[in-house]
């Protein structure tokens, strides 16, 4: 039987996910959000719930510290950060948010775990296969350069223990020739699935810096997840106001155009790109469109819907529309799409992103279907 704390733990996880005890939600400390930082290093705060207490207002309090420095020198971090030392019974308060450095694969896994993202089922279209040699098994013969030290020593330890010559107080383990283990190669047939993500973004005057920041963060995480699911992934970027053009990643996030908004222009360009470069029978295609919901005219929206029906939907895994709320946006396009396809459509996924905090929920909207 499991320890009862596992039940407390499961309950805590449910509260954090908002499934039970809704009244606690407001105490869950901000920072469930995962923020890209530097090239490969990230901050992974852990969720925690602060039970409200009478306590002192943080910053006016100040504190005492130890170390060098003159008056006016900054003391990095907040009071309460980093408490070194050993744990002791009855230690209640401590630092709650921890920074962890980790690599991209681990991050993708955490993202998948946290959001409970399903593994993507690639379309049953052509799956390229190739043979790869991978050093995944262990043999008793091989060149020294492939010697597996850990396994070798394990063997030696096993032998010494079974022979009764191992002394835990003098844990010396000496491998002999027959303990040696080597990495050896297995041939594997690998199925490859290729995917392309096409990002489209409205860069008309109403999309401000904050909105673009949201799109940037969101696309980072979407890429991260799709990369963990597909071996081969290509990413294309389209920006549009009244006309659309294809750009590189950098331009995509920096350009600020002005003028009107014709969403159909982007959809048309997207169609062209797919037609020329990506055979829908070979590729898993993910078009994402982000805007603040404004479109120039109802007529143009009609053109958009036609494009979706006749080309984009039949040829892509799913079509995602993320509406970034801005002060000027009318959010009309969201209404039009949800009127036509419904908010829970399998093929057209709609998500409203109010602010940075909503990014994770929106990623779950997009990727939660496993398509």
């Amino acid at each position: 039987m499991d320890h009862p704390i596992k039940r407390d733990h499961a309950r805590f996880r449910k509260i954090v996910k908002g499934k039970i005890r809704d009244n606690l939600r407001k105490y869950i400390s901000q920072g469930q959000q995962i923020i890209p930082k530097g090239t490969d290093q990230f901050k992974v705060p852990m969720p925690s719930i602060d039970i409200p207490r009478f306590k002192f207002g943080g910053k006016s309090e100040g504190g005492t510290g130890q170390g060098g420095g003159d008056q006016g020198d900054p003391v990095n971090g907040e009071p309460g950060d980093g408490e070194p030392g050993q744990g002791e019974a009855g230690e209640g308060e401590g630092n709650k948010e921890l920074e962890v450095e980790m690599n991209v694969e681990e991050l993708a896994k955490i993202l998948g775990d946290e959001l409970e993202l399903p593994k993507i089922e690639p379309k049953g279209k052509q799956q390229m296969s190739s043979t790869v040699d991978k050093y995944t098994s262990i043999g008793t013969v091989g060149p020294d350069s492939l010697k597996h030290l850990k396994r070798t020593y394990k063997e030696a330890l096993k032998r010494q223990m079974s022979m009764g010559i191992y002394d835990p107080m003098d844990p010396r383990v000496v491998p002999i020739r027959k303990d040696y283990r080597f990495r050896s190669a297995d041939t594997k047939i690998e199925m490859q699935n290729a995917a392309v993500v096409i990002y489209m973004m409205d860069v008309s005057g109403s999309m401000g810096e904050e909105q673009k920041e949201i799109v940037r963060t969101e696309s980072f995480w979407i890429n991260l997840w799709l990369k963990s699911q597909y071996k081969d992934i290509e990413i294309r970027y389209i920006i549009h106001d009244a006309t659309a053009k294809e750009v590189d990643e950098d331009t995509f996030f920096r350009t600020r155009e002005s003028g009107g908004t014709l969403i159909s222009s982007a959809f048309k360009l997207c169609k062209e790109i797919i037609e020329t470069d990506y055979n829908p029978n070979e590729w898993n295609i993910y078009p994402f469109h982000f805007s603040d919901g404004d479109n120039w005219s109802a007529d143009d929206t009609k053109v958009c819907l036609e494009l979706l029906d006749n080309f984009l939907l039949p040829n892509s895994n799913m079509f995602c529309y993320g509406q970034v709320e801005s002060r000027y946006g009318s959010s009309q396009f969201y209404k039009d799409l949800s009127a036509k396809y419904g908010a829970d459509s399998e093929d057209v996924i709609l998500s409203k992103i109010k602010n940075k905090e909503a990014i994770l929920d929106s990623i779950k909207d997009f990727l939660g279907k496993g398509k």
């Binding site: 407390d8 733990h9 407001k26 009478f54 910053k59 130890q66």
Partner: protein, 502 residues
């Protein structure tokens, strides 16, 4: 559900060896039991405050979540855990190496000695393992009866008031309460029934009796409590033990009163550890370093020990490290009393050179620190023994928030300022001082609390939530008088929102 097992073989030999050294140095401890466990078990124990069985609550799950993630990502590892019980239990981590175990054992004997001898611990219940387990089964039963969510919600509310304690109540043993007449009624009742036993009653039983007593009181008085109201108003003013106040005065169901008294017992059990953190850790560190460097280490372990010890002693700019400050202060005191750097003559000496090299060979250091560990807590410890020389040597400073560039900056290295800041941080174990001002405020059975303002404002967002929790227990509007942004304000929570009323 114990997943730890007693140590044996070589480790038991090691314990005997370390215990022998502890005896040589004159440490005085409870019987010491070491148990071995894996990291998951130690995470569970740590999440539950060191105890194997607690009541069901998500906060233990949260702490467990953080500890195990911390372990998995290699951010932190718990070396040891020791619990204030008799016999004293301590847990060793399986994966630790021989030197770690040595260090931990020596450290634990320091804590054990402190638990046994420090006066602030003298009234703590040393059978707390059983008490906690009893609380657990009681609360589990309430959950079965009234529903998990309902009981958990109530626990959340009580936990939000858990830090509103009165440190002086640590010395309120049952005998004192009785002689003061506060429990006179109960006393008579019980002697008549013939089941009065002075000390052996578990606190679970006591809290049960509190409930029973309240039931009887309710029955006697019926719904009209008005005659008692005025008298009540006088006796409760200044009460800082808010939980006790609620048990006696709030309109509670029996199970609610019982849960409050369980949680209150637990909060008071942990309180001595909160008010002696610096001393307790300093004392344990002093002894692990003494025992290891003078006795237990062999030559090949010195470097490893130095690394480990340095890790424990790491300084931080954001916070003082209680291990470091406590350890250094005990050493400083020992040195001062060994060389006679104390008393009138030394204090009045103005020759800096002479003062620096003062040595009367008094050799009273060891004796002095043993007597300090008996009678002091962190506040009196810092108040009496922090010296300008020490602050200077330890590079202590205070910092404050600079609103101009939004960062924390070093404020001063002035001795008086540092001492003041440290003492302020330690006052009332770091919690705001909140007391009952009026339990019949405006003659409408409203509750008025008072916050003693010592220069730092309350976090009003948290205060609002806390007052809303208090409201749902008190069931009438709750007000708080405090100073906010340099103005005296009364905040009132009326069931909907927090408003400043004056």
């Amino acid at each position: 559900m114990l997943r730890s097992k007693p140590i044996n073989g070589k480790l038991l030999d090691l314990q005997r060896e370390i215990q022998g050294y502890a005896d040589e140095y004159g440490l005085d401890y409870f019987p010491q039991i070491f148990e071995m466990c894996d990291y998951d078990t130690i995470n569970i124990l740590a999440a539950q405050g060191g105890f194997p069985i607690r009541y069901p609550h998500w906060k233990f799950g949260m702490d467990y979540d953080q500890l195990s993630k911390g372990y998995r990502f290699g951010i932190q590892k718990i070396y040891e855990m020791v619990i204030n019980t008799n016999p004293c239990y301590a847990y060793l981590l399986e994966v630790n190496n021989w030197l770690d175990q040595k260090l931990v054992m020596a450290h634990v004997y320091g804590h054990n000695d402190f638990f046994k001898n420090n006066k602030w611990f003298s009234t703590t219940n040393r059978n707390m393992m059983d008490v906690m387990a009893n609380h657990g089964s009681k609360i589990r039963r309430y959950m079965e009866k009234y529903g998990q969510t309902k009981v958990e919600l109530f626990i959340d509310r009580v936990l939000s008031l858990e830090n509103l304690l009165d440190g002086t109540h640590l010395f309120e043993t049952n005998e004192i309460l009785v002689s003061r007449g506060e429990t006179e009624e109960k006393f008579i009742e019980e002697t008549e029934n013939g089941d009065y036993v002075v000390d052996d009653r578990s606190s679970a039983l006591k809290s049960y009796m509190r409930v029973e007593k309240k039931k009887q009181k309710d029955n006697f008085q019926g719904p009209s409590e008005s005659p008692a109201m005025n008298a009540e108003k006088n006796t409760v003013k200044g009460e800082k033990d808010i939980l006790r106040f609620l048990i006696n005065n709030a309109p509670l169901e029996n199970w609610e009163a019982d849960i409050i008294s369980c949680l209150r017992d637990e909060a008071y059990y942990f309180l001595p550890q909160r008010i002696t953190k610096i001393m307790n850790e300093g004392w344990a560190s002093y002894w692990h370093s003494k025992i290891l460097t003078q006795k237990a280490l062999n030559g090949s372990e010195i470097i490893d020990f130095a690394t480990k010890h340095a890790g424990v002693m790491a300084m931080s700019k954001q916070n003082i490290n209680p291990y470091k400050i406590g350890y250094e202060l005990f050493h400083d005191i020992e040195h001062r009393w060994d060389t006679g750097k104390f008393g009138k003559e030394y204090n009045e000496c103005t020759n800096m050179y002479e003062k620096e090299n003062w040595n009367t060979n008094a050799m009273q250091g060891r004796e002095k620190i043993f007597s300090i560990r008996k009678s002091h807590n962190d506040i009196t410890f810092i108040h009496e023994f922090l010296t300008p020389e020490f602050c200077n040597r330890q590079q202590l400073f205070t910092y404050k928030f600079n609103p101009r560039n939004q960062r924390m900056e070093i404020d001063t290295r002035d001795f008086e300022a540092i001492k003041q800041k440290l003492l302020t941080q330690l006052t009332n174990f770091g919690s705001p001082v909140i007391s009952v001002e009026d339990a019949n405020y405006k003659n409408r059975k409203e509750l008025l609390l008072k916050h003693e303002h010592y220069g730092v404002d309350l976090d009003m967002k948290f205060a609002a939530e806390t007052m809303s929790n208090l409201y749902s227990i008190w069931k009438r509007p709750v007000s708080l008088t405090t100073k906010y942004e340099d103005k005296v304000v009364i905040f009132q929570f009326d069931g909907k929102e927090l408003k400043a009323v004056s």
